[in-house]
Protein backbone atom coordinates (compact mmCIF):
# COMPACT_ATOMS: atom_id res chain seq x y z
CA UNK A 1 0.00 0.00 0.00
CA UNK A 2 1.12 3.54 -0.71
CA UNK A 3 1.35 6.11 2.09
CA UNK A 4 -2.08 6.30 3.67
CA UNK A 5 -4.30 9.29 2.93
CA UNK A 6 -6.72 8.30 5.67
CA UNK A 7 -6.12 6.47 8.93
CA UNK A 8 -9.06 5.56 11.14
CA UNK A 9 -8.17 4.29 14.59
CA UNK A 10 -10.49 2.68 17.15
CA UNK A 11 -13.36 4.99 16.15
CA UNK A 12 -16.35 4.64 18.48
CA UNK A 13 -19.69 6.41 18.65
CA UNK A 14 -22.67 5.78 20.93
CA UNK A 15 -26.15 7.10 20.27
CA UNK A 16 -27.84 6.83 23.62
CA UNK A 17 -27.46 3.17 24.53
CA UNK A 18 -26.76 2.11 20.98
CA UNK A 19 -23.18 1.66 19.88
CA UNK A 20 -23.41 2.80 16.26
CA UNK A 21 -19.72 2.47 15.48
CA UNK A 22 -17.59 0.18 17.62
CA UNK A 23 -13.78 0.47 17.60
CA UNK A 24 -13.46 0.57 13.84
CA UNK A 25 -9.96 0.91 12.42
CA UNK A 26 -8.77 0.91 8.83
CA UNK A 27 -6.44 2.67 6.47
CA UNK A 28 -6.86 3.96 2.98
CA UNK A 29 -3.90 4.38 0.63
CA UNK A 30 -3.42 7.36 -1.63
CA UNK A 31 -5.43 6.65 -4.78
CA UNK A 32 -7.06 3.55 -3.35
CA UNK A 33 -10.76 2.69 -3.47
CA UNK A 34 -12.46 0.95 -0.59
CA UNK A 35 -16.04 -0.23 -0.36
CA UNK A 36 -17.87 -0.29 2.94
CA UNK A 37 -20.75 -2.71 3.05
CA UNK A 38 -23.00 -4.12 5.71
CA UNK A 39 -26.66 -4.64 6.52
CA UNK A 40 -28.95 -1.69 7.23
CA UNK A 41 -28.14 -0.01 10.51
CA UNK A 42 -24.63 -1.43 10.68
CA UNK A 43 -23.08 2.03 11.09
CA UNK A 44 -21.86 2.78 7.58
CA UNK A 45 -23.34 6.26 7.29
CA UNK A 46 -22.34 7.09 10.86
CA UNK A 47 -18.78 6.14 9.95
CA UNK A 48 -18.88 8.61 7.04
CA UNK A 49 -20.33 11.26 9.35
CA UNK A 50 -17.53 10.63 11.84
CA UNK A 51 -14.81 10.90 9.20
CA UNK A 52 -16.24 14.09 7.68
CA UNK A 53 -16.80 15.71 11.07
CA UNK A 54 -20.59 15.95 10.95
CA UNK A 55 -20.71 13.74 14.04
CA UNK A 56 -18.09 13.87 16.78
CA UNK A 57 -16.75 10.48 17.91
CA UNK A 58 -16.77 9.41 21.55
CA UNK A 59 -13.28 7.99 21.18
CA UNK A 60 -10.73 7.13 18.55
CA UNK A 61 -9.17 9.36 15.95
CA UNK A 62 -9.14 10.05 12.24
CA UNK A 63 -6.01 11.21 10.46
CA UNK A 64 -6.05 12.75 7.02
CA UNK A 65 -2.58 12.78 5.45
CA UNK A 66 -1.14 12.27 8.91
CA UNK A 67 -2.99 15.19 10.48
CA UNK A 68 -5.59 14.50 13.15
CA UNK A 69 -8.94 15.80 11.93
CA UNK A 70 -11.22 14.45 14.67
CA UNK A 71 -12.92 17.34 16.43
CA UNK A 72 -12.44 19.74 13.55
CA UNK A 73 -15.61 21.38 12.22
CA UNK A 74 -16.88 19.71 9.03
CA UNK A 75 -16.29 22.71 6.80
CA UNK A 76 -12.60 22.71 7.77
CA UNK A 77 -12.30 19.03 6.95
CA UNK A 78 -13.97 19.68 3.59
CA UNK A 79 -11.51 22.50 2.90
CA UNK A 80 -8.62 20.06 3.31
CA UNK A 81 -10.04 18.06 0.42
CA UNK A 82 -12.44 15.56 1.93
CA UNK A 83 -15.78 15.63 0.12
CA UNK A 84 -18.83 13.49 0.52
CA UNK A 85 -22.23 12.87 -0.98
CA UNK A 86 -25.31 12.39 1.12
CA UNK A 87 -27.46 9.31 0.95
CA UNK A 88 -30.57 11.39 0.42
CA UNK A 89 -29.77 13.72 -2.46
CA UNK A 90 -31.23 17.00 -1.27
CA UNK A 91 -30.21 19.66 -3.80
CA UNK A 92 -30.73 23.41 -3.45
CA UNK A 93 -34.28 23.06 -4.73
CA UNK A 94 -34.90 26.69 -5.53
CA UNK A 95 -31.80 27.09 -7.67
CA UNK A 96 -31.24 26.00 -11.26
CA UNK A 97 -29.17 22.82 -11.58
CA UNK A 98 -25.99 24.60 -12.63
CA UNK A 99 -26.49 27.28 -9.96
CA UNK A 100 -26.44 24.39 -7.48
CA UNK A 101 -22.76 24.02 -8.34
CA UNK A 102 -22.00 27.71 -8.09
CA UNK A 103 -22.50 27.32 -4.33
CA UNK A 104 -19.65 24.82 -3.77
CA UNK A 105 -17.53 26.69 -6.32
CA UNK A 106 -17.75 29.66 -3.96
CA UNK A 107 -15.79 27.59 -1.43
CA UNK A 108 -12.47 29.09 -0.29
CA UNK A 109 -10.86 25.79 -1.26
CA UNK A 110 -11.76 26.28 -4.92
CA UNK A 111 -10.50 29.83 -4.81
CA UNK A 112 -7.17 28.85 -3.28
CA UNK A 113 -6.72 25.87 -5.61
CA UNK A 114 -7.47 27.69 -8.80
CA UNK A 115 -6.54 31.23 -7.87
CA UNK A 116 -8.59 34.04 -9.31
CA UNK A 117 -8.20 32.99 -12.90
CA UNK A 118 -10.76 30.27 -13.30
CA UNK A 119 -13.18 32.60 -14.97
CA UNK A 120 -16.89 32.55 -14.56
CA UNK A 121 -18.35 30.15 -11.98
CA UNK A 122 -21.35 29.51 -14.22
CA UNK A 123 -19.12 28.13 -16.98
CA UNK A 124 -17.19 25.91 -14.58
CA UNK A 125 -20.52 24.67 -13.19
CA UNK A 126 -21.81 23.79 -16.66
CA UNK A 127 -18.57 21.93 -17.42
CA UNK A 128 -18.93 19.94 -14.21
CA UNK A 129 -22.51 19.03 -15.03
CA UNK A 130 -21.42 17.80 -18.43
CA UNK A 131 -18.83 15.57 -16.75
CA UNK A 132 -21.52 13.81 -14.76
CA UNK A 133 -23.73 13.36 -17.78
CA UNK A 134 -26.01 16.40 -18.00
CA UNK A 135 -26.59 17.17 -21.67
CA UNK A 136 -24.84 20.49 -22.22
CA UNK A 137 -27.02 21.74 -25.04
CA UNK A 138 -30.33 20.74 -23.53
CA UNK A 139 -32.38 22.78 -21.10
CA UNK A 140 -31.71 20.34 -18.24
CA UNK A 141 -28.81 22.24 -16.61
CA UNK A 142 -30.95 25.38 -16.50
CA UNK A 143 -33.98 23.76 -14.92
CA UNK A 144 -34.62 24.29 -11.23
CA UNK A 145 -33.38 21.35 -9.19
CA UNK A 146 -36.88 20.87 -7.81
CA UNK A 147 -38.12 19.45 -11.13
CA UNK A 148 -35.19 17.12 -11.87
CA UNK A 149 -35.79 13.37 -11.73
CA UNK A 150 -34.02 11.25 -9.10
CA UNK A 151 -31.26 10.03 -11.40
CA UNK A 152 -30.21 13.57 -12.21
CA UNK A 153 -30.36 14.58 -8.55
CA UNK A 154 -27.93 11.80 -7.63
CA UNK A 155 -25.51 12.90 -10.32
CA UNK A 156 -25.97 16.53 -9.31
CA UNK A 157 -25.02 15.48 -5.79
CA UNK A 158 -21.90 13.79 -7.17
CA UNK A 159 -21.03 16.92 -9.16
CA UNK A 160 -21.50 19.06 -6.05
CA UNK A 161 -19.04 16.84 -4.24
CA UNK A 162 -16.53 16.99 -7.12
CA UNK A 163 -16.82 20.76 -7.46
CA UNK A 164 -14.37 21.38 -4.62
CA UNK A 165 -11.80 19.09 -6.31
CA UNK A 166 -11.46 16.72 -3.39
CA UNK A 167 -8.60 14.27 -2.85
CA UNK A 168 -10.69 11.92 -0.73
CA UNK A 169 -14.27 11.26 -1.80
CA UNK A 170 -16.85 9.48 0.32
CA UNK A 171 -19.86 8.34 -1.65
CA UNK A 172 -22.82 7.33 0.50
CA UNK A 173 -25.03 4.96 -1.52
CA UNK A 174 -24.57 6.78 -4.77
CA UNK A 175 -26.25 4.03 -6.78
CA UNK A 176 -29.34 3.64 -4.63
CA UNK A 177 -32.51 4.35 -6.54
CA UNK A 178 -30.74 4.46 -9.90
CA UNK A 179 -31.78 2.31 -12.82
CA UNK A 180 -29.33 -0.21 -14.24
CA UNK A 181 -28.71 2.09 -17.19
CA UNK A 182 -28.05 5.02 -14.88
CA UNK A 183 -25.64 2.96 -12.80
CA UNK A 184 -23.88 1.84 -15.96
CA UNK A 185 -23.41 5.46 -17.00
CA UNK A 186 -22.21 6.49 -13.54
CA UNK A 187 -19.54 3.80 -13.16
CA UNK A 188 -17.24 5.37 -15.83
CA UNK A 189 -17.37 8.68 -13.94
CA UNK A 190 -16.07 6.91 -10.86
CA UNK A 191 -13.44 5.02 -12.83
CA UNK A 192 -12.24 8.33 -14.21
CA UNK A 193 -11.85 9.65 -10.67
CA UNK A 194 -9.76 6.58 -9.83
CA UNK A 195 -7.54 7.18 -12.84
CA UNK A 196 -7.01 10.75 -11.69
CA UNK A 197 -5.62 9.29 -8.49
CA UNK A 198 -8.37 10.32 -6.11
CA UNK A 199 -9.03 8.15 -3.11
CA UNK A 200 -12.54 6.81 -2.76
CA UNK A 201 -14.69 5.33 -0.04
CA UNK A 202 -17.93 3.90 -1.36
CA UNK A 203 -20.83 2.81 0.76
CA UNK A 204 -23.01 0.64 -1.34
CA UNK A 205 -25.71 -1.98 -1.32
CA UNK A 206 -25.32 -2.73 -5.03
CA UNK A 207 -22.52 -5.24 -4.49
CA UNK A 208 -22.12 -6.43 -8.08
CA UNK A 209 -21.28 -2.93 -9.30
CA UNK A 210 -19.27 -2.12 -6.19
CA UNK A 211 -16.98 -5.13 -6.49
CA UNK A 212 -16.03 -4.15 -10.00
CA UNK A 213 -14.89 -0.72 -8.84
CA UNK A 214 -13.14 -1.16 -5.51
CA UNK A 215 -9.80 -2.68 -4.56
CA UNK A 216 -10.90 -3.76 -1.11
CA UNK A 217 -14.06 -4.03 0.97
CA UNK A 218 -14.73 -3.56 4.65
CA UNK A 219 -17.77 -5.26 6.14
CA UNK A 220 -19.56 -3.70 9.09
CA UNK A 221 -22.14 -5.37 11.29
CA UNK A 222 -23.62 -3.81 14.43
CA UNK A 223 -20.96 -1.12 14.23
CA UNK A 224 -18.04 -3.55 14.21
CA UNK A 225 -15.69 -4.35 11.40
CA UNK A 226 -16.19 -8.05 10.82
CA UNK A 227 -14.13 -8.52 7.68
CA UNK A 228 -11.76 -6.70 5.39
CA UNK A 229 -10.00 -7.65 2.18
CA UNK A 230 -10.42 -8.61 -1.41
CA UNK A 231 -14.12 -8.53 -2.39
CA UNK A 232 -14.29 -12.19 -3.42
CA UNK A 233 -12.53 -13.54 -0.32
CA UNK A 234 -14.61 -11.39 1.99
CA UNK A 235 -17.91 -12.56 0.57
CA UNK A 236 -16.83 -16.15 0.95
CA UNK A 237 -16.30 -15.80 4.68
CA UNK A 238 -19.03 -17.42 6.76
CA UNK A 239 -19.37 -14.56 9.18
CA UNK A 240 -20.11 -12.13 6.38
CA UNK A 241 -22.67 -14.45 4.86
CA UNK A 242 -24.39 -14.78 8.21
CA UNK A 243 -24.41 -11.01 8.79
CA UNK A 244 -25.55 -10.20 5.33
CA UNK A 245 -28.01 -12.88 4.49
CA UNK A 246 -29.15 -14.07 7.89
CA UNK A 247 -28.30 -17.35 9.57
CA UNK A 248 -30.22 -19.48 7.09
CA UNK A 249 -27.66 -18.67 4.41
CA UNK A 250 -25.28 -21.25 5.82
CA UNK A 251 -26.60 -23.96 3.60
Amino acid sequence: MQSPILQVRELTKDFGGLRAVDRVSFELGEGESVGIIGPNGSGKTTLVNLITGFVKPDSGEVRFRGKVITGMPPYCIARMGVARTFQMARPFYNLAAYKNLVVPLFSPRVRSLLGGGYGDRDTVALDLLEEVGFERDSSVPYKPASVLPHGYLKRLELARCLAIRPDLILLDELFSGLSLAEVASTVPIIEKLQMEGRSLILIEHRLRELFRIVDRVIVLNFGQKIAEGNPREVMDSDEVKRAYLGTEADG
Partner: protein
Amino acid sequence: MRSRGSGCTGMNKSRTRKERVDRGVKARSEDVFALSSWREILYLLAPRLLPVLVLFLLALVLPVYWKKVLVSSAIFGILAMSWDFLVCAGLVSLGQALFFGVGAYLAGTFHHLWGWPWWLTLPLASLLGGGICTLLLAPVLRLRGIYFSMVTLVLPLMLVRIIEATKALGGTEGLSGIQGFPGLGVELVLSVGMFLAALFGYRRILGTDYGLVMQGIRDNDRSVISSGINAHWFRAQALFLAGCMGALAGAFMTHAYMFVGMPVFALDYSILPITAAVVGGMGSIAGPALGAFILVPLSEALRALGALRIVFYGVFLVIFIVGLPEGLFHYLKRKYHQFERWTAVES
Protein backbone atom coordinates in the same frame (compact mmCIF):
# COMPACT_ATOMS: atom_id res chain seq x y z
CA MET B 1 -59.77 29.70 -11.53
CA ARG B 2 -56.04 29.56 -11.64
CA SER B 3 -55.01 26.22 -12.96
CA ARG B 4 -51.44 25.16 -12.39
CA GLY B 5 -49.52 23.97 -15.41
CA SER B 6 -51.44 21.57 -17.53
CA GLY B 7 -54.47 21.78 -15.27
CA CYS B 8 -56.87 18.99 -14.50
CA THR B 9 -57.62 17.52 -17.87
CA GLY B 10 -57.87 14.02 -16.51
CA MET B 11 -60.82 14.72 -14.28
CA ASN B 12 -63.20 16.78 -16.37
CA LYS B 13 -64.23 16.20 -19.91
CA SER B 14 -62.98 19.49 -21.34
CA ARG B 15 -60.90 19.18 -24.44
CA THR B 16 -58.86 22.28 -23.85
CA ARG B 17 -56.34 23.23 -21.27
CA LYS B 18 -54.49 26.34 -20.31
CA GLU B 19 -50.99 26.52 -21.67
CA ARG B 20 -48.36 28.87 -20.29
CA VAL B 21 -46.05 30.49 -22.78
CA ASP B 22 -42.99 32.48 -21.81
CA ARG B 23 -42.90 35.99 -23.09
CA GLY B 24 -40.07 37.94 -24.65
CA VAL B 25 -36.56 37.67 -23.32
CA LYS B 26 -37.40 35.05 -20.72
CA ALA B 27 -38.53 32.67 -23.44
CA ARG B 28 -35.06 32.49 -24.87
CA SER B 29 -32.95 32.18 -21.78
CA GLU B 30 -33.16 32.22 -18.02
CA ASP B 31 -30.53 34.78 -17.30
CA VAL B 32 -28.35 35.39 -20.30
CA PHE B 33 -29.85 38.44 -21.83
CA ALA B 34 -29.27 39.33 -25.42
CA LEU B 35 -30.73 42.76 -25.73
CA SER B 36 -31.48 43.58 -29.28
CA SER B 37 -34.28 46.08 -29.28
CA TRP B 38 -35.78 48.91 -27.27
CA ARG B 39 -38.79 46.73 -26.67
CA GLU B 40 -36.69 44.18 -24.83
CA ILE B 41 -34.79 46.76 -22.86
CA LEU B 42 -38.11 48.27 -21.82
CA TYR B 43 -39.46 44.81 -20.99
CA LEU B 44 -36.63 44.35 -18.50
CA LEU B 45 -36.49 47.90 -17.25
CA ALA B 46 -40.19 48.57 -16.75
CA PRO B 47 -40.71 46.47 -13.61
CA ARG B 48 -37.62 48.05 -12.07
CA LEU B 49 -38.47 51.64 -12.96
CA LEU B 50 -42.11 51.33 -12.04
CA PRO B 51 -41.70 51.34 -8.25
CA VAL B 52 -39.23 54.22 -8.42
CA LEU B 53 -41.53 56.37 -10.53
CA VAL B 54 -44.70 55.51 -8.65
CA LEU B 55 -43.16 56.18 -5.25
CA PHE B 56 -41.72 59.58 -6.15
CA LEU B 57 -44.92 60.54 -7.96
CA LEU B 58 -46.97 59.60 -4.89
CA ALA B 59 -44.57 61.56 -2.71
CA LEU B 60 -45.37 64.64 -4.80
CA VAL B 61 -49.13 64.43 -5.20
CA LEU B 62 -50.49 62.89 -1.98
CA PRO B 63 -52.11 65.05 0.70
CA VAL B 64 -50.06 65.61 3.83
CA TYR B 65 -51.76 62.90 5.91
CA TRP B 66 -51.19 60.26 3.23
CA LYS B 67 -47.64 61.44 2.73
CA LYS B 68 -47.06 60.42 6.34
CA VAL B 69 -48.65 57.07 5.58
CA LEU B 70 -46.30 56.73 2.63
CA VAL B 71 -43.34 57.32 4.95
CA SER B 72 -44.41 54.65 7.40
CA SER B 73 -45.22 52.25 4.53
CA ALA B 74 -41.68 52.68 3.25
CA ILE B 75 -40.21 52.16 6.73
CA PHE B 76 -42.30 49.06 7.40
CA GLY B 77 -41.37 47.94 3.91
CA ILE B 78 -37.70 48.11 4.91
CA LEU B 79 -38.44 46.10 8.04
CA ALA B 80 -40.36 43.51 5.99
CA MET B 81 -37.52 43.26 3.46
CA SER B 82 -34.99 42.68 6.21
CA TRP B 83 -37.24 39.88 7.48
CA ASP B 84 -37.44 38.35 4.01
CA PHE B 85 -33.68 38.57 3.55
CA LEU B 86 -33.27 36.42 6.65
CA VAL B 87 -35.76 33.93 5.21
CA CYS B 88 -33.64 33.74 2.08
CA ALA B 89 -30.74 32.64 4.29
CA GLY B 90 -32.96 30.07 6.01
CA LEU B 91 -33.61 32.02 9.19
CA VAL B 92 -37.24 32.64 10.14
CA SER B 93 -37.44 35.47 12.62
CA LEU B 94 -40.47 35.99 14.83
CA GLY B 95 -38.85 39.00 16.44
CA GLN B 96 -38.13 41.66 13.86
CA ALA B 97 -39.07 44.08 16.68
CA LEU B 98 -35.61 43.31 18.10
CA PHE B 99 -33.88 44.93 15.11
CA PHE B 100 -36.41 47.75 14.99
CA GLY B 101 -36.26 48.45 18.72
CA VAL B 102 -32.47 48.29 19.04
CA GLY B 103 -32.10 50.76 16.16
CA ALA B 104 -34.76 53.04 17.58
CA TYR B 105 -33.21 53.13 21.05
CA LEU B 106 -29.68 53.59 19.68
CA ALA B 107 -30.72 56.63 17.64
CA GLY B 108 -32.68 58.00 20.59
CA THR B 109 -29.79 57.48 23.00
CA PHE B 110 -27.24 59.03 20.66
CA HIS B 111 -29.32 62.17 20.42
CA HIS B 112 -30.42 62.20 24.05
CA LEU B 113 -26.92 61.80 25.51
CA TRP B 114 -24.70 63.52 23.02
CA GLY B 115 -27.09 65.54 20.88
CA TRP B 116 -25.91 63.99 17.63
CA PRO B 117 -27.94 65.06 14.56
CA TRP B 118 -30.14 62.61 12.63
CA TRP B 119 -27.77 62.31 9.68
CA LEU B 120 -25.18 60.92 12.06
CA THR B 121 -27.41 58.76 14.24
CA LEU B 122 -29.13 57.01 11.30
CA PRO B 123 -26.02 55.35 9.81
CA LEU B 124 -24.46 54.76 13.23
CA ALA B 125 -27.61 53.20 14.72
CA SER B 126 -27.94 51.08 11.60
CA LEU B 127 -24.41 49.64 11.68
CA LEU B 128 -24.18 49.34 15.46
CA GLY B 129 -27.73 47.97 15.66
CA GLY B 130 -26.93 45.32 13.08
CA GLY B 131 -23.83 44.40 15.07
CA ILE B 132 -25.63 44.24 18.41
CA CYS B 133 -28.46 42.10 17.02
CA THR B 134 -25.95 39.76 15.40
CA LEU B 135 -24.08 39.37 18.69
CA LEU B 136 -27.32 38.84 20.64
CA LEU B 137 -28.45 36.11 18.25
CA ALA B 138 -25.02 34.62 17.51
CA PRO B 139 -25.27 31.96 20.24
CA VAL B 140 -28.48 30.57 18.73
CA LEU B 141 -27.45 30.74 15.07
CA ARG B 142 -26.71 27.03 15.24
CA LEU B 143 -30.34 26.33 16.01
CA ARG B 144 -32.45 25.65 13.00
CA GLY B 145 -36.10 26.20 12.18
CA ILE B 146 -38.52 26.79 15.01
CA TYR B 147 -35.81 26.87 17.71
CA PHE B 148 -34.17 29.93 16.22
CA SER B 149 -37.58 31.53 15.73
CA MET B 150 -38.55 31.03 19.38
CA VAL B 151 -35.44 32.81 20.61
CA THR B 152 -36.04 35.76 18.29
CA LEU B 153 -39.59 35.94 19.61
CA VAL B 154 -38.44 36.09 23.22
CA LEU B 155 -35.52 38.53 22.94
CA PRO B 156 -37.45 41.78 22.26
CA LEU B 157 -39.96 40.90 24.98
CA MET B 158 -37.04 40.42 27.38
CA LEU B 159 -35.32 43.65 26.42
CA VAL B 160 -38.47 45.69 27.03
CA ARG B 161 -38.81 44.22 30.54
CA ILE B 162 -35.16 44.99 31.24
CA ILE B 163 -35.75 48.62 30.26
CA GLU B 164 -38.84 48.71 32.45
CA ALA B 165 -37.16 47.12 35.45
CA THR B 166 -33.85 48.97 35.37
CA LYS B 167 -35.39 52.31 34.33
CA ALA B 168 -32.51 52.58 31.90
CA LEU B 169 -32.90 54.55 28.66
CA GLY B 170 -35.80 56.54 30.07
CA GLY B 171 -37.56 53.50 31.51
CA THR B 172 -41.32 53.46 30.99
CA GLU B 173 -41.28 57.16 30.11
CA GLY B 174 -39.06 56.69 27.09
CA LEU B 175 -36.83 59.37 25.63
CA SER B 176 -38.65 62.41 24.26
CA GLY B 177 -37.46 65.58 22.62
CA ILE B 178 -35.45 63.74 19.99
CA GLN B 179 -34.51 65.84 17.00
CA GLY B 180 -37.04 65.60 14.16
CA PHE B 181 -36.37 65.80 10.46
CA PRO B 182 -36.12 69.32 9.01
CA GLY B 183 -39.31 68.86 7.05
CA LEU B 184 -41.73 66.42 5.51
CA GLY B 185 -39.89 66.67 2.19
CA VAL B 186 -36.65 65.41 3.71
CA GLU B 187 -38.54 62.69 5.53
CA LEU B 188 -40.20 61.56 2.29
CA VAL B 189 -37.11 61.58 0.12
CA LEU B 190 -35.07 59.85 2.82
CA SER B 191 -37.58 57.11 3.57
CA VAL B 192 -38.37 56.38 -0.07
CA GLY B 193 -34.66 56.50 -0.92
CA MET B 194 -33.81 54.07 1.89
CA PHE B 195 -36.66 51.84 0.81
CA LEU B 196 -35.48 51.67 -2.80
CA ALA B 197 -31.87 51.15 -1.70
CA ALA B 198 -32.92 48.21 0.46
CA LEU B 199 -35.12 46.78 -2.30
CA PHE B 200 -32.52 46.87 -5.05
CA GLY B 201 -29.62 46.22 -2.69
CA TYR B 202 -31.05 43.05 -1.20
CA ARG B 203 -32.18 41.77 -4.59
CA ARG B 204 -28.74 42.46 -6.00
CA ILE B 205 -27.04 40.57 -3.15
CA LEU B 206 -29.29 37.56 -3.65
CA GLY B 207 -28.46 37.51 -7.35
CA THR B 208 -24.71 37.28 -6.79
CA ASP B 209 -22.82 34.05 -6.14
CA TYR B 210 -22.58 35.15 -2.51
CA GLY B 211 -26.37 35.34 -2.39
CA LEU B 212 -26.64 31.91 -3.98
CA VAL B 213 -24.62 30.49 -1.08
CA MET B 214 -27.13 32.06 1.33
CA GLN B 215 -30.01 30.43 -0.52
CA GLY B 216 -28.08 27.17 -0.55
CA ILE B 217 -27.85 27.35 3.23
CA ARG B 218 -31.61 27.77 3.37
CA ASP B 219 -32.25 24.72 1.16
CA ASN B 220 -29.63 22.38 2.62
CA ASP B 221 -26.97 23.69 4.94
CA ARG B 222 -25.20 20.32 5.22
CA SER B 223 -24.39 20.35 1.51
CA VAL B 224 -22.98 23.85 1.86
CA ILE B 225 -20.88 22.86 4.87
CA SER B 226 -19.50 19.80 3.09
CA SER B 227 -18.26 22.11 0.35
CA GLY B 228 -15.94 23.71 2.84
CA ILE B 229 -18.07 26.79 3.44
CA ASN B 230 -18.62 27.99 7.00
CA ALA B 231 -22.43 28.15 7.01
CA HIS B 232 -22.58 29.71 10.48
CA TRP B 233 -20.38 32.58 9.40
CA PHE B 234 -22.63 33.17 6.40
CA ARG B 235 -25.71 33.08 8.60
CA ALA B 236 -24.11 35.65 10.88
CA GLN B 237 -23.44 37.89 7.89
CA ALA B 238 -27.04 37.53 6.73
CA LEU B 239 -28.15 38.42 10.22
CA PHE B 240 -25.94 41.51 10.19
CA LEU B 241 -27.20 42.65 6.79
CA ALA B 242 -30.81 42.19 7.91
CA GLY B 243 -30.13 43.72 11.31
CA CYS B 244 -28.66 46.87 9.78
CA MET B 245 -31.77 47.61 7.73
CA GLY B 246 -34.13 46.68 10.57
CA ALA B 247 -32.24 48.99 12.91
CA LEU B 248 -32.24 51.73 10.28
CA ALA B 249 -36.03 51.49 10.08
CA GLY B 250 -36.25 51.84 13.87
CA ALA B 251 -33.80 54.73 14.00
CA PHE B 252 -35.76 56.56 11.31
CA MET B 253 -39.00 56.19 13.25
CA THR B 254 -37.37 57.60 16.39
CA HIS B 255 -36.55 60.80 14.54
CA ALA B 256 -39.89 60.87 12.71
CA TYR B 257 -41.84 60.61 16.01
CA MET B 258 -39.21 62.63 17.92
CA PHE B 259 -39.66 60.02 20.64
CA VAL B 260 -38.56 56.52 21.50
CA GLY B 261 -40.21 54.33 24.11
CA MET B 262 -40.90 50.72 25.03
CA PRO B 263 -43.52 50.20 22.28
CA VAL B 264 -40.70 49.90 19.70
CA PHE B 265 -40.19 46.36 20.98
CA ALA B 266 -43.90 45.57 20.61
CA LEU B 267 -45.09 42.41 18.94
CA ASP B 268 -46.65 44.50 16.13
CA TYR B 269 -43.25 45.13 14.61
CA SER B 270 -42.55 41.40 14.60
CA ILE B 271 -45.89 40.44 13.08
CA LEU B 272 -46.19 43.11 10.39
CA PRO B 273 -43.18 41.91 8.36
CA ILE B 274 -44.59 38.40 8.37
CA THR B 275 -48.05 39.45 7.24
CA ALA B 276 -46.51 41.70 4.60
CA ALA B 277 -44.50 38.73 3.34
CA VAL B 278 -47.60 36.52 3.30
CA VAL B 279 -49.52 39.07 1.24
CA GLY B 280 -46.64 39.98 -1.06
CA GLY B 281 -44.91 36.62 -1.38
CA MET B 282 -41.89 35.31 0.48
CA GLY B 283 -38.35 34.90 -0.74
CA SER B 284 -38.40 37.67 -3.29
CA ILE B 285 -37.64 40.81 -1.22
CA ALA B 286 -39.98 42.73 -3.52
CA GLY B 287 -42.97 40.73 -2.23
CA PRO B 288 -42.85 41.87 1.39
CA ALA B 289 -42.09 45.41 0.22
CA LEU B 290 -45.25 45.32 -1.87
CA GLY B 291 -47.13 43.76 1.03
CA ALA B 292 -46.13 46.60 3.35
CA PHE B 293 -47.40 49.12 0.83
CA ILE B 294 -50.76 47.35 0.83
CA LEU B 295 -51.13 46.63 4.55
CA VAL B 296 -49.99 49.91 6.09
CA PRO B 297 -52.31 52.12 3.99
CA LEU B 298 -55.11 49.56 4.45
CA SER B 299 -54.66 49.72 8.18
CA GLU B 300 -54.95 53.53 7.98
CA ALA B 301 -57.98 53.39 5.72
CA LEU B 302 -59.73 51.07 8.16
CA ARG B 303 -59.08 53.44 11.06
CA ALA B 304 -62.59 54.85 10.65
CA LEU B 305 -64.05 51.48 11.60
CA GLY B 306 -62.82 51.83 15.16
CA ALA B 307 -62.72 48.62 17.12
CA LEU B 308 -63.81 46.54 14.14
CA ARG B 309 -60.68 47.58 12.27
CA ILE B 310 -58.63 44.59 13.30
CA VAL B 311 -61.46 42.24 12.29
CA PHE B 312 -61.58 43.58 8.74
CA TYR B 313 -57.81 43.56 8.62
CA GLY B 314 -57.86 39.91 9.64
CA VAL B 315 -60.54 39.00 7.09
CA PHE B 316 -58.51 40.68 4.37
CA LEU B 317 -55.45 38.65 5.36
CA VAL B 318 -57.36 35.36 5.35
CA ILE B 319 -58.82 36.13 1.92
CA PHE B 320 -55.33 36.77 0.65
CA ILE B 321 -53.84 33.62 2.14
CA VAL B 322 -56.62 31.44 0.76
CA GLY B 323 -56.97 33.14 -2.61
CA LEU B 324 -53.35 33.83 -3.45
CA PRO B 325 -51.12 31.63 -1.29
CA GLU B 326 -48.05 32.20 -3.45
CA GLY B 327 -48.22 35.93 -2.74
CA LEU B 328 -49.01 38.90 -4.91
CA PHE B 329 -45.51 39.50 -6.23
CA HIS B 330 -44.96 35.94 -7.46
CA TYR B 331 -48.38 36.06 -9.12
CA LEU B 332 -47.68 39.35 -10.87
CA LYS B 333 -44.22 38.22 -11.89
CA ARG B 334 -45.62 35.10 -13.51
CA LYS B 335 -48.30 37.08 -15.31
CA TYR B 336 -45.66 39.48 -16.58
CA HIS B 337 -43.31 36.83 -17.90
CA GLN B 338 -45.87 34.43 -19.29
CA PHE B 339 -49.19 34.59 -21.01
CA GLU B 340 -51.78 31.87 -21.00
CA ARG B 341 -53.75 30.54 -23.88
CA TRP B 342 -56.22 27.75 -24.35
CA THR B 343 -55.00 24.85 -26.41
CA ALA B 344 -56.77 21.76 -27.57
CA VAL B 345 -55.89 18.57 -25.74
CA GLU B 346 -55.81 15.31 -27.58
CA SER B 347 -57.79 12.71 -25.77
